[in-house]
């Protein structure tokens, strides 16, 4: 499991490869906060290569969304598979995040 970060246009794109769980959530949080500190304001997390997410992983996404918004930025999510969509619907986090079907669609609408 790892997090790959790259800049696409003006957007910091993070690919979550593997699981986003209690054991690695701090790593994702720190990487995104480092970019926020450097002045980045537009973030997209892409889940096309993600297995499962636990409650700690969901919690980190909520926390990052708040911190980015406090700095005048925006966090969007893309490429949730059916399991992840179910998870976001169960927890109603689909109402909290802007979720795009594809990375391209998410990037277009920033």
């Amino acid at each position: 499991m790892s997090f790959a970060i790259k800049k696409q246009s003006e957007v910091v794109v993070v690919d979550v490869e593997g699981q986003l769980i209690v054991g690695n959530r701090q790593e994702l949080k720190q990487k995104v906060l480092d970019e926020l500190e450097r002045g980045e304001r537009k973030f997209l997390i892409d889940f096309s290569q993600t297995g499962y997410i636990d409650s700690s992983g969901l919690g980190v996404l909520v926390s990052l969304s708040k911190k980015i918004r406090e700095q005048g930025g925006e966090l969007r999510l893309a490429n949730l598979n059916e399991d992840l969509k179910t998870l976001f619907e169960l927890t109603k986090l689909d109402t909290l995040f802007q979720i795009a079907d594809t990375r391209e669609r998410a990037l277009e609408t920033f």
Binding site: I21, G51, Y52, D54, S55, S56, G59, D83, L90, K92
Partner: protein, 151 residues
């Protein structure tokens, strides 16, 4: 191996393990049980969503909240798969932490932006039955039926 073939067998697949109170072990334990369920043709969405998420939550609770990551304490896992269901028991060595005290609805407006509080909620939504009891430590027993109609 097709699900139909599995249905003709009298199946009982068990696994017992003991792990240190370290969250780095969670993903591997989840993968072991997930693999067993796949091998005996548990429905794919249960293998890819219900089982890994609920099991991760239960293990994280045992390691972080009950055992408080004490390296001298262990987490004991027993799982049994038969034709009808998966039953997983997770026992910790904590002082008696009661998961029910932290149960709240994370989907309510006042809770939706909280970072915590979704673990037990997800366990109850993703498993068919959750039981909490004490047997030389706190035990969480989670049951997931193979088919929706099984009891």
């Amino acid at each position: 191996m097709s699900a139909n073939y599995i249905d003709t067998l009298q199946l009982r697949l068990t696994l017992e393990l003991c792990a240190p109170s370290d969250i780095r072990f969670i993903e591997g334990i989840v993968a072991l049980i997930q693999r067993q369920c796949k091998e005996v043709s548990f429905p794919s969405s249960k293998c890819s969503l219900n089982i890994p998420v609920a099991l991760s939550e239960a293990l994280a609770n045992a390691i972080l909240r009950a055992n408080k990551e004490d390296p001298g304490k262990q987490v004991y896992v027993r799982s049994a798969i038969d034709n009808d269901r998966l039953v997983i028991e997770i026992r910790d060595e904590g002082p008696g932490f009661d998961l029910r005290t932290s149960m709240r609805d994370p989907t309510l407006d006042e809770n939706i932006t909280r970072e915590d509080g979704r673990g037990l909620f997800l366990m109850t939504r993703l498993m068919d039955r959750i039981e909490l009891f004490n047997n030389n430590g706190n035990v969480v027993r989670m049951t997931l039926n193979r088919h929706a109609e099984a009891e």
